[in-house]
């Protein structure tokens, strides 16, 4: 055997979700990434989140750019739509797709190279437009596919596998997103599946662009001593600031909590996100203070995680641009293309 497959095994008494699907129904092809890659855990978290939300895979669109992270769209939800696009251009593709059919759930998967170098401008404008999608930024601080060069998210002082030290300042995707009007900013770690799954569910339910920056260690090129994106380093400096639980519309919030300790954020789908502050003085609804905390954590090397900022008030792209409820493919051609006469009439209005 030159490779292996994850067998699909139907078991007696296997748990199923609201659609009668098993967790395995949300798997994709077998991963070809290195054994132990954090990205595989993100993939597993996505599959679990969609399973728990009882989403039909055919109502999901997976899009990605280029890189190890961008390969992973193949590894979950094999029955979903999707495309691997050009390096760094996934946000444009997603924006276009979301514009023509707002009824699907859009999942963008990208990495620190794809998003913070070649695709930085693309990602920034998707954030500004508040495209209704969840954007997984699988952040490992290196270009794994080209064998371990520093990426734009590498911390100053972090060491490469062969000993070189990074001298350039990192781009923190969470701080950048906050500074340009992001409405949902979260950070997590591939090693904390529980937190990651709740954040993904909350991000999918959020109206607008949901960024989840996931520290996802590269076992082959950035998991050594001196790296600030290794498993060991992340486990050591990992700090949960805010916990977020998605509560679907059908369920009531039953957990009891002390005032000030937890707060529900109402969502547009009728559900809510129950925020529990683990740091008392952290306010995930205040953009300025969130930025301040994040910048302070950069100084202390602390990796602040959880739902760092949420704003449900800003409209998503579809509302802002008054895009039709009906997907373009379902609008009759005669309406989409009213003909030369209608065009002439329109042009006449501007003469």
């Amino acid at each position: 055997m030159t490779s292996f497959v994850k067998p699909k095994i139907r078991r007696l008494n296997e748990p199923t979700n609201g659609l009668g699907k098993t967790r395995a129904d949300y798997d994709g092809a077998m991963s070809t990434l290195c054994a132990g890659c954090g990205h595989d855990s993100v993939t597993a978290a996505l599959a679990r989140a969609f399973y728990e939300l009882s989403t039909d895979p055919k109502d999901v669109v997976k899009v990605s750019g280029i890189g190890c992270s961008s390969k992973t769209t193949t590894y979950f939800l094999k029955d979903a739509h999707g495309a691997n696009t050009v390096h760094g251009r996934m946000p444009s593709f997603a924006t276009g797709a979301a514009a023509v059919n707002k009824n699907l759930t859009y999942v963008g998967v990208s990495g620190d190279g794809d998003s913070l170098s070649i695709g930085l401008g693309q990602m920034a404008h998707a954030i500004r437009r508040n495209v209704d999608m969840i954007y997984m930024l699988e952040n490992n601080g290196v270009y794994g596919l080209t064998k371990g060069q520093f990426s734009a998210s590498s911390d100053i002082g972090s060491k490469a596998k062969k000993g070189a030290t990074n001298m350039l300042p990192p781009i923190d995707p969470a701080i950048m997103a906050l500074s340009i009007g992001a409405t949902f900013v979260a950070r997590s770690f591939s090693g904390d599946k529980q937190q990651l799954v709740s954040l993904i569910k909350a991000g999918i339910a959020h109206r607008g662009f949901a960024l989840i920056d996931v520290i996802s260690p590269c076992v082959s090129f950035n998991d050594h001593k001196g790296s600030t994106k290794s498993y060991a380093h992340t486990y050591q400096y990992y700090h949960k600031a805010v916990h977020a639980d998605y509560v679907p519309p059908s369920e009531e919030i039953t957990a009891s909590y002390d005032e000030g300790e937890a707060m529900p954020v109402e969502l547009h789908d009728g559900g809510s996100i129950l925020l529990r502050k683990l740091d008392k003085d952290y306010d995930p609804t205040n953009r300025a203070s969130a930025m301040e905390k994040l910048m302070q954590s950069q100084q202390t090397q602390e990796i602040l995680t959880g739902l760092l900022y949420i704003d449900e008030s800003r409209p998503a792209m579809a509302e802002h641009k008054k895009l039709p409820e009906t997907p373009l493919h379902s609008i009759p051609y005669s309406k989409l293309n009213p003909g030369a006469d209608a065009l002439r009439k329109l042009q006449d209005e501007f003469r």
Binding site: T2, F4, K8, R11, L12, P15, A35, K193, D223
Partner: protein, 597 residues
Amino acid sequence: MKPTDTSNPDYFHKVVDCQWACPAHTPVPAYIRLIAQGRYSDAYLLNRDSNVFPGILGRVCDRPCEPACRRTRVDGEPVAICRLKRVAADHRDDVTSRLPQKPDQTNGKRIALIGAGPASFTVANDLAPLGYECTIFEKLPEAGGLMRANIPAFRLPEKVLNEELQYILDMGVELKLNSPVSSMKALLDEGWDAVFVGTGAPKGKDLHLPGREEADANIHIGIDWLESVAFEHIDSIGKNVLIIGVGNTAMDCCRTSLRLGAENVKVMARKPRNFFKASEWELEDAEEENIQIVVNHSPKAFVTEHGKLVGMTFELMEYDVDDKGEITGQRIIGEETLPCDDVILAIGQENAFPWIEKDAGIEFGKWDVPVVDEETFESTHEGVFFGGDSAFGPKNIIWAVEHGHQAAISIHRHCQGLGLRDRAPREVELQSAKMGMFEWRYSNAYTAAERREMEHVALVDRFQRLNIEVELGFNAEQIAVEVQRCLNCDVQTVFEAPLCEECDACIDVCPVECLSITPVADSEAELRASLSQPEAPEDQSLYVSNPLPLTGRVMIKDENVCLHCGLCAERCPTSAWDMKEGVIKIPHADDQVETVA
């Protein structure tokens, strides 16, 4: 909750559900792998180490391994373990030179074995090669005990039985046929170094109902009747036959009746089907032969005319069954008389020791069964051991074999002047199954194939003679598929906590989600609640690792759902998980040597 102690040999043994369930602890997955490689003789000999009679048991074993098989929890159907055992036996080459041999000289110790059934033969098998002079006393004209007298030849061909008994006799065992032991005291006076009683449970139960005496000529006790058929004292039966009782003996009686000329055979059961004692497959085989199984009929009286049996009256029963499937109430709702020419009683059997004198120094407990130690099989008389059905009442062949092994250990230690309880302990030997990238020493790919069905001789052909074996055995294609259904539970998942860097790769790749990393919990119940499949059969373990180096959390593995596919070990970047083939060493008499000072 404390980390799991995997150094306890029973931990990994328990994971191999079939081997754990087998009274003789046959290493099932290991011999199935040998069959898969076409090494039938090796598979046969590996079997023989544990269960002594692979050819016999491959046909008529009670198969406690199959309901335990992990596969039943996946697709509901166990691996056809028993049938594969027969495959090993049927396709083996001449193995006589590889069997334990008759020693050049004996050790001078004389052992008397009473009853030539599976228990005594197992004791002889274990002791004769060590130099013991074993003598088996048998009252019947042929050896085999119930395997000869009670199991019909259409299920167990005489040739198979003879061959496997002869292997043991060839080790220098003396067999005295037509030699009933009529006095235990007289035997003890002969100065044997040890005596083993393996006389089975030879007394079939009678049913004392009105008309019993008058109809005696046509009422037969099941096991006695089967014995008479086996020794050709009986070769016919009436056209209409009723079998009373619905255990495995009843199945043999009804099917034998068909072969002796009966045309209409009914098996009468007092209770509904899920209370039947017979194995499901034996019921199916009987029904395939158009035997009618009648439920909820409780025997009331034998009906006679002119001193001859003409029918039997039954009370029609109705039962209340609760959610757990237990009967909570019963009532009689009517009566029915069925005509018949013969009745065969198959309602149980018990031990009987009319030849053991009350003052022989052997204590008998309740229901006149001997007081026997459950570990050593020694009676209250030093040097007198019991095994098989004669020890604790009717069980089955594979239990008799295990009793024989244990009694042989005791006899060996007794004769060497060693304490009977300081027996050699069980051990586990683990060896990595990794060969390289994506390569393991076992076939780890999951096969979704369904259990293969055994082919039978056509109904029109099988009744011509009493000894036409009904089951044809697996063909090459069936063997090839069935061996792949085995999940190789003996290739153990072994975890080294200090190597783990908590990347979750194993958890993510596991196709059945049996792994998790969680904070240390107080109790197993707390941990179970967080599992993908919280409910598990009672005897299924939860593996809890030592604290992991980075976070102090623990790795949890639910042994209940693990399929031993090895993907956790395949995906582990640090080899914290490894697949290791575990050999469970079950000591027999010849393994006690090291403990002999």
